[in-house]
Amino acid sequence: MAQIAERYVGTQVLRKEDPELITGQAKYTDDLSVPGMLWMYVVRSPFAHARIKGVDLSKALAMDGVVAAFSGADLADAWIGGLPMAWPVTEDINNPPHFPLAKDKARHQGDGVAVVVAESRALAKDAAEAVEVDYEPLDTVIDMEAALAKGAPLVHEEIGTNKSYTWTLTNGEIDKVFSEAPVVVKERYRIQRQIANAIEPRAVLAQPTPSTGELTLWTSTQIPHIAKVTLAAFTLGIPESKLRVIAPNVGGGFGSKLQVYAEEALALALARKLGRPVKWTEERSENYLATHHGRDQIQEMELAADESGKILGYRARILVNMGAYLMIITPGTPLLGAFVYCGPYGGEAYQVEFTGVFTNTTPTDAYRGAGRPEATYAIERSIDALARRVGKDPVEIRRMNFLPPFTEPTPSIGGLSIDSGNYEATLDVALEMVGYEQLRKEQQARREQGDLKQIGIGFSTYLEMCGLAPSRVLSALRYAAGGWDAANIRVLPTGKVVVAIGTTPHGQSHETTFAQIVADDLGIPYEDIEMEYGDTQVSPLGLDTYGSRSLSIGGVAVHRAAQKIVEKGRKIAAHELEVSEDDLEYESGKFMVKGAPDKAKTIPEVAFSAWTAHNLPDGLEPGLDALAVYDAENFVFPYGAHICAVEVDTETGAIEILRYVAVDDVGTIINPQVVDGQVVGGVIQGIAEALFEEAVYDEKGQLLTSSMTNYLVPAAPDVPDVMIGRHVTPSTTNELGVKGVGETGTIASPPAVVNAVIDALSHLGVTHMERPMSPERVWRAVQSAKGGASK
């Protein structure tokens, strides 16, 4: 009898990840220790720019319990090359060397200059304080525009400039469109620098096996597979087969652990040199200096339009702060947003130009959304500016510029072919949820009363591209690696299933989500499916987790591997049931003879037969396992409408978020609770970007926001609840119909919040707010609009 099978996809299954996390049994890297383990501590430059004239290690080396100490020069022969940079975005990019320790010159505060190894954590730190470095401080350059000016101090003298590259994308007759357009708005925005603040700081443990030359590296990373290839082949010069990289439980990443770091290379090199395990755990204050930062752009955004506000052209000229060195995808990070400066809107011409600039600051690289939050901010702010210019409501200007609904791939002026979209539909849902008409009435009433607390409504109707990435597209963009991912499903003889995946979770619920897919595909109970990941020996094929790629690439690989299991299973079932394969129907883990559903074999039964191999079809290999490697033909394109309603105190500058509505279309939903969790987490992180967070340097390159006490990571009372709505247009890029959800929140929310605050104050003449929108900035904007004099 065929029974109605339980479906897992689309339902709220509780997470597989939780039991060990809620009981304190999960192991993060710093929880690990091995016999004979030594501790490493990195001596860091207190200066943002200084010549290293000498490093005296003698006092440190004389201390009890200190095993070794090295300067950058001492370790020069440990490397065959610098730390990896995988995205030379132009042929003529300046990519100066970046070694794990600086030798001649420190180029940002926190640049490593020496390393100490001792018998305990405390001893290593004590000894690091005894290292004496003779520095000659040099003039610093922090501001990007100053860095490009003639005569600026050079971060890297050997290249003779602080410019790394200029990358341009042009579609259509851009100059003609702009010179003939009746309306042109030109805006300038500053995207402040941010610090990711994953709550687990980084940690590294390197263990050598001297007899075989093997090295095992446990590291808190998003990218064990990429770290393995690059560290072995480009930095350490050891056979890749001798290096095993393991990412155990990882306590958040947000892009900051999408990196190959100096401390990983140092721990490996020292473990190799000393023949003993070496561990390093980052302190939070170190994290602020030595873990890469995110964002940091100066944008000039122009829109060309007709008198009605119909957009004809988009032109963005953007300076991007690289920091002191190019790290793994530092130069490529802005390119991830290069194609969505037009949002979900139409037009005739498009141009984006990025110039990468070196400064004496911590290097930048991916931070949740990477390039797309910046692009979305530029378009969603400037479309409001256009609305003000042509006298339209922000809803109306968006409606008239949206691409019409489509369910087949459709070209955008940004140069992409978009999988599916119905932009107006998400806006309609969001307007309904937020109570738009009522809010506008309330706003009007308060304006008429001259209320000290004014209401504003802000929109962000964003278009994201994610699912990194089609390997051929990455090649065209000069990225050094591919964008495929892999899954290997093994159906064990007892019917239990183990899936080795190539993506590397750090909070996103891969174990749960992927098990839901397999459970439906193979008719195996959810509880009987386990995921293996984050270990290059256990799941050797993979390209890790970033850019909202895990489900739309890795999840599709899991699904395809399951299809291969079914294909092989069908052969075995047909043979055992003595029918042809065509006579079998497959549903929810069961092969049934057509017209005689009592004659059936389940996947576990077939798996057992495949294991005994007593009665397999001629020529068929025993065992029931399958590997699938999936390379997408296209990206996936989540989109949605976010609306933020704020109350702004015009006397104090305080902002309160009254309502925040997020309506996202992320394609087919596997687990609604997990998806909502990703949306809310991202939205709150983006709200913090708009309101609270900024990494601030002084002119000497000292990081003023140097700890969690003065860089405002929001706590629970600082942030609102989020109302979530949903719209689903399945992606046409993959057979699961899935898009990505990890970054929608940080991409969408900052402009919604800033637009809301500007809207609240627009009747006073406020048209611009710098972010983060501190009460002081709001108050100054109000004063300057009122008096015009306090600028």
Binding site: I22, T23, D31, R284, D676, V680, G681, P717
Partner: protein
């Protein structure tokens, strides 16, 4: 070195510690209870929160020697006889965690909050957990989980209604 005697999750431990040793490193490295995490060096994040004599304390702000003679509960001591604590269950059911790194500290802080407050609301839970940072969840599901656990704790503790 100083000699201390501490009860942790019901078990008594005698140990010699450096006077500068922080309680969190004593718990993690000397007792091997690594469920209590370290997320900062400025007492900002709350990942290291434990109960000391029933009250939540950031164990990076206390020296091991100050714990002499006191009773400590860590996340490992919350489940009893294989039965999850109501807060652990609620965090699981309400998806109150993603990467899980802040979770032990969050649960310990919430446990203290529930025992110290009569009538928790969304707002008072948010204020009560102000010292614990989470970067993944945006707090919404954490607040839900704590309110649900508070309800369950209260209904379990309440006497049967009189007829």
């Amino acid at each position: 070195m100083r000699h201390i005697s501490v009860t942790v999750n019901g078990a008594r431990h005698e140990a010699d510690v450096e006077p500068r040793q922080l309680l969190v490193y004593f718990i993690r490295e000397q007792l091997g209870l690594t469920g209590t995490n370290v997320g900062c060096d400025t007492t900002s994040c709350g990942s290291c929160t434990v109960l000391v004599d029933g009250k939540s304390v950031k164990s990076c702000t206390m020296l091991a020697v100050q714990a002499d003679g006191r009773e400590i509960i860590t996340i490992e001591g919350m489940a009893r006889n294989g039965e999850l604590h109501p807060l652990q269950k609620a965090f699981h059911e309400h998806h109150g965690l993603q990467c899980g790194y802040c979770t032990p500290g969050m649960i310990m802080a919430a446990d203290s909050l529930i025992r110290e407050s009569d009538n928790l609301t969304d707002e008072s839970v948010r204020l009560g957990l102000e010292g614990n940072l989470c970067r993944c969840t945006g707090y919404v599901n954490i607040v839900k989980a704590v309110l649900a656990a508070a309800d369950e704790t209260r209904s379990a503790a309440a006497p049967a209604p009189a007829k």
